[in-house]
């Protein structure tokens, strides 16, 4: 299954001190399994609990098969019949679901409930949390949540979102601004994360984003949050 790790320039080129890691043998790749494959096992048999198929490694007697990018049956033979196509899609989707079951809800920074929750992902964590500190120092009930997994999203996020009166994402990508003449609630493009949260949780999530190719600054986030709290977006609330 394809895994995409999202990053951006300020995250991938950032430098910061960290404690020297203590070497652990757990880091080492396990020895390559060369034992015979159990009688009757097929290359794409999978565990319905973990969603994982045991991979047969070259050198394992009895496990010979050909990996292919084409639709295939559980023996890894190319197959074009409709039922196998659907079975493959279902198995891959359930594999993702099994992974999702292992994810923990992200921690909330600040208080677990309040007026405004800022949601971010990636390199904006430091800026958002610094902004939350400044706003809370002013006595404002602002918290933040930083997502590590975006697809699939861990369980428990819905409940976190519902504990705040307003939710807003902070992202380094494009979203339309409502003060532009041409933009209204019918054509506004939300930033990517806001769109995902809205569609999955049916929660009214607003967004603020910048696409300037530079790190988002804590001061900008403070200004945005203050503006948001001063004038709760009636236009946005339907």
């Amino acid at each position: 299954m394809v895994v995409v790790v999202l990053s951006d320039a300020s995250l991938s080129t950032a430098q910061q001190p960290f404690p020297r890691p203590q070497f652990s043998e757990d880091w080492l790749a396990p020895p390559i399994d060369q034992t015979p494959v159990p009688e009757g096992a097929r290359p794409y048999d999978w565990d319905p609990v973990t969603g994982i198929a045991r991979r047969f490694i070259p050198g394992q007697p009895g496990g010979m098969h050909t990996i292919t990018g084409l639709a295939h049956d559980r023996m890894s033979k190319v197959a074009y019949d409709p039922s196998i196509n659907e079975e493959g899609l279902r198995a891959r989707s359930l594999k993702l679901a099994a992974l999702q079951k292992t994810l923990k809800a992200p921690p909330v920074y600040g208080a677990p409930e309040g007026e405004l929750l800022l949601v971010g992902w990636g390199s904006t964590q430091g800026a958002i949390e610094e902004a939350v500190d400044r706003l809370r120092a002013q006595g404002l009930a602002v918290s933040s949540m930083h997502l590590r997994f975006i697809q699939p999203l861990p369980s428990g996020i819905r409940e976190i979102l519902q504990r705040f009166k307003q939710v807003m994402t902070i992202e380094g990508n494009w979203s339309d601004r409502l003060n532009d003449e041409l933009i209204d609630e019918d054509n506004r493009r939300y930033s990517a994360l806001a769109m995902m949260l809205r569609s999955r949780y049916l929660v009214d999530v607003d967004c603020w984003s910048e696409a300037r190719g530079q790190p988002i600054k804590p001061g900008s986030v403070v200004d945005v949050a203050l503006a948001k709290m001063k004038s709760p977006s009636k236009k946005n609330r339907g």
């Binding site: 020297r20 070259p58 050198g59």
Partner: protein
């Protein structure tokens, strides 16, 4: 006595394989397709060399040719278009203990994968490569490939292909570190087997171009060569191949060619009629990439730890240690 007994036990446990042990399913290629001839030769090679099926890997890209791994009862990697070489290189780097073969077509190798092909030759890893060259894209139903003859009318060249074909032998012979370049034709099964056998025995990147018929889209293309054995030039040498008396009776057009002579190899490679068949170039002295890189050397936990520590030592500062040391007067 003891050692003889051990020998006996080892014998008993040694597996011997029959042709069927390498047959992975009924090929879906057209009848008369040259791919079938290559499959037969390769399965024979596996049996004769008694290759353990579980320690043998066939890697391919996309196309008719690249269905090949599915028809072998070994491990296989039916990869993505043009990328058979990097996949095979990865397999070989991680697992030098495996026999790794590459099956690629004239579209896969000479068009979309051409850059990988050139660098694969230069890397000279120990891989046995077969270029299934039928001069046309068959799986997608007749489009001109880089080796299609000039004037070929196809779905992409309705008024005839406008360019001279690319010559895979000449390209290969022009790349640094080339170590084994040969050519076979699907209608000479004995020679094809001998060439593939020699290729397998070479330690390095053995490149075998097989000129093959596509009965569906180019049914008459090689008829003149089939009808006139004089249009085939058999290359012979003590360090190359010696055709059997039977083959020599039919194919009398022969040339003594030292496989170490790269200049003559290039001259022969440039010739398309007669078609040269045999070993054009073979230099066992060219070092393999995996030997230069010392890949396959056992990476023990201690080695990994030492490497990691050395890297971390470059950047680590130890403030506690420095603070605990009493200041010394210098």
């Amino acid at each position: 006595m003891g050692s003889a007994l051990n020998q006996c036990i080892i014998r008993i446990h040694e597996e011997h394989h029959a042709l069927e042990d390498y047959q992975g399913g009924v090929p879906r290629w057209c009848s008369g397709c040259g791919d079938n001839a290559i499959l037969a030769a390769v399965q024979r090679l596996c049996r004769d060399e008694d290759l353990a099926p579980e320690r043998t890997v066939f890697v391919s890209g996309i196309g008719c040719s690249s269905r090949f791994p599915h028809y072998m009862k070994t491990y296989g990697f039916h990869g993505i278009h043009g990328r058979a070489f990097p996949l095979a290189e990865g397999v070989k780097m991680a697992r030098p203990d495996l026999n790794v073969f590459v099956n690629t077509g004239d579209g896969d190798c000479c068009s979309i994968g051409a850059a990988h092909w050139i660098h694969a030759i230069r890397y000279n890893m120990n891989l046995t490569v077969i270029l299934h060259d039928n001069h046309v894209y068959g799986l997608t139903k007749k489009q001109a490939s880089p080796t299609s003859p000039m004037g070929l009318k196809s779905n992409t060249t309705p008024r005839g292909a406008v360019l001279e074909p690319l010559n895979p032998l000449l390209v290969s012979l022009g790349v640094a570190n080339a170590s084994f370049i040969a050519q076979g034709v699907d209608w000479m099964p004995e020679q094809l087997y001998d060439i593939i056998h020699k290729a397998f025995k070479h330690r390095g990147f053995s490149f075998v171009r097989v000129i093959q018929r596509c009965p569906e889209f180019l049914p008459r293309m090689f008829e003149p060569w089939l009808h006139d054995p004089g249009k085939t030039l058999l290359l012979t040498h003590a360090n190359g191949l010696r055709p059997s008396a039977e083959v020599s009776r039919t194919y009398r057009n022969q040339r003594e060619h030292d496989p170490l002579d790269i200049d003559t190899a290039r001259e022969i490679a440039a010739c398309e009629d007669p078609i040269p068949v045999g070993i054009l170039y073979h230099n066992p002295a060219v070092p393999c990439y995996e030997d230069r890189r010392h890949a396959g050397a056992p990476r023990s936990p201690e080695l990994t730890r030492a490497g990691l520590d050395a890297e971390l030592d470059k950047y680590t500062i130890w403030p506690e240690e420095r603070d605990s040391q009493p200041a010394q007067a210098v």
